[in-house]
């Protein structure tokens, strides 16, 4: 049985959901979608992924003045929230102190039994708050970690979307005939390098990537493949390096060297634009 038109449409559901279908294809897909429950359900099942992408960015507080600007767009002045009858909590670190102070004040006022009950309530509340703060601190750490990875991924995407990006394909050399790699280099934003089928490194050795201009090679950075020989890395490069003619990956002593000494494992010519 050959591929039907429906199969083609079904494959487009993912592209449609994240908004990467060009206009003509998008219109055709929507026409198909209105009469195809299978494609509609495929689209529906992918919506949480799109929503997750919207959330998977480093979370930052909006600037302070923005709230007033947004509210001014309605033509009124800045109102308080409708929940303004609820006391706005101070930052979490201050809460416990405040509670303790309030309890002490109640004791000073000689409120006896009432104060004792309140103290019990406050002490269990303090426990809850402490636990909540501990959880918040743990997730702050997770967020810091995610933010670092996100920043790195974002820097890679920045290279790939740079107006001055050049692509360089590197081919395996005699020590690694099956290896191959691709470098995406932007003079303004850095270099993204992705390699596959690199031989495992012997102890005390590292791969080192070089940009080769007409003169002496310039070190880009060090690289270690994973268990199956793949390596992906992003490097910053100086904006003023001379126009390269080639890129090369060599094997070098741990820690790298100022000028290449080892065998070339990958080499690729840089076409001049």
């Amino acid at each position: 049985m050959g591929r039907s038109e429906h199969d083609d449409f079904r494959e487009q559901a993912a592209l449609y959901v994240i908004g990467s279908l060009p206009l003509a294809e998008r219109t055709a897909f929507e026409t198909h979608l209105s009469g195809c429950s299978e494609c509609a359900s495929e689209v529906r099942s992918l919506l949480p992924v799109r929503d997750a992408l919207a959330m998977a960015v480093p979370q930052l507080e909006p600037p302070l003045g923005l709230r007033d600007r947004v509210l001014a767009s309605m033509g009124g002045t800045s109102p308080l929230s409708s929940r303004s009858n609820v006391v706005v909590l101070p930052p979490r670190r201050a809460r416990l102190d405040w509670l303790v102070a309030a309890v002490s004040l109640a004791a000073l006022l000689g409120l006896g039994v009432y104060t004792a009950r309140l103290r019990d309530r406050v002490s269990s509340l303090s426990e809850e708050l402490r636990a909540a703060i501990a959880r918040a601190d743990a997730s702050d750490l997770a967020v810091a970690d995610a933010r670092r990875t996100a920043a790195d991924a974002q820097a890679s995407v920045a290279v790939l979307s740079a107006p001055d990006m050049a692509r360089v394909d590197l081919a395996g050399q005699p020590p690694a005939p099956r290896a191959s790699a691709r470098a995406y280099w932007s003079r303004s934003r850095g270099l993204v390098f992705t390699a596959s089928d690199l031989p495992a490194l012997p102890a005390g050795r590292t791969y080192q990537l070089w940009i080769v201009p007409a003169g002496a090679p310039i070190s880009v950075g060090l690289l270690r493949p994973d268990a199956v020989g793949r390596a992906t890395a992003r490097f910053d490069t100086a904006a003023d390096i001379p126009q390269p003619v080639a890129m090369a990956l060599t094997i070098e002593p741990d820690g790298g060297v100022p000028a290449p000494t080892g065998d070339k494992y990958l080499v690729g010519a840089v076409s001049s634009h």
Binding site: S20, V49, R50, M55, A56, Q59
Partner: protein, 203 residues
């Protein structure tokens, strides 16, 4: 003493997700009637994720602020277009924010507008059960979603990021990465399907 009681009341109460949804829908309805308090509530509850997404896409805080303003402005003007059966108010706001931000990005780059304004898949998928919920973003949940994205093979992740955060079409991505169109389409599709599996139980 009222301060203390108010404190105990707000701290002791755990707001449920259903309660959050209902509060969002109620605030949106008020905003739609032109009540500034409704818009203020929506802003206070969602400005952070909306601003963060706009900033990720535009990379410039002045541009991101403009996009946030446009997002909330569009939300209250078009509040009648929101359909609770198709997703949460939070998700709806983020869809608007992404569209507004990508429009700005394209205008800035003078790129032809190949995915038109107002693109919103939820607007036509209205058969079947209500769309799965996007919950209010907790820091923990965001970190887990990010981890799922980072576990994708590098080029799948890059293709998805170029599509979603840079607003590139599949053809533009293929040109940018100098890779066959079919490969790019497959990478995006496989990546999203992997994310869908990994996200089960997270969002």
């Amino acid at each position: 003493m009222w301060i203390l009681w108010a404190l105990i009341d707000t701290s002791g109460r755990i707001r449920g997700r259903a309660e959050d949804r209902a509060a969002d829908e109620e605030a949106l309805a008020r905003a739609g009637r032109g009540e500034a308090s409704g818009l203020a509530d929506l802003y206070d509850r969602h400005a952070r994720p909306v601003y963060s997404l706009a900033l990720r896409i535009l990379g410039d805080s002045a541009d991101a602020e403009d996009a946030v303003q446009e997002t909330f402005s569009q939300a209250w003007r078009q509040s009648k277009r929101y359909d609770p059966g198709r997703g949460t108010v939070a998700a709806w706001l983020l869809i608007i924010a992404r569209t507004r931000a990508i429009d700005r990005l394209r205008a800035r780059q003078a790129r032809p507008d190949s995915t038109p304004t107002g693109w919103d898949p939820t607007s036509i998928v209205d058969t079947g059960a209500p769309a799965p919920e996007l919950q209010l973003a907790s820091a923990e949940r965001i970190a887990r979603v990010r981890a799922v994205l980072n576990e994708l093979p590098f080029l799948q992740r890059v293709a998805i990021e170029l599509a979603y955060y840079e607003g590139l079409t599949h053809t533009e991505i293929a040109e940018r990465l100098e890779q066959p169109l079919g490969t790019v389409k497959t990478r995006i599709r496989l990546g999203l399907i992997k994310m869908r599996e990994a996200l089960t139980g997270i969002v």
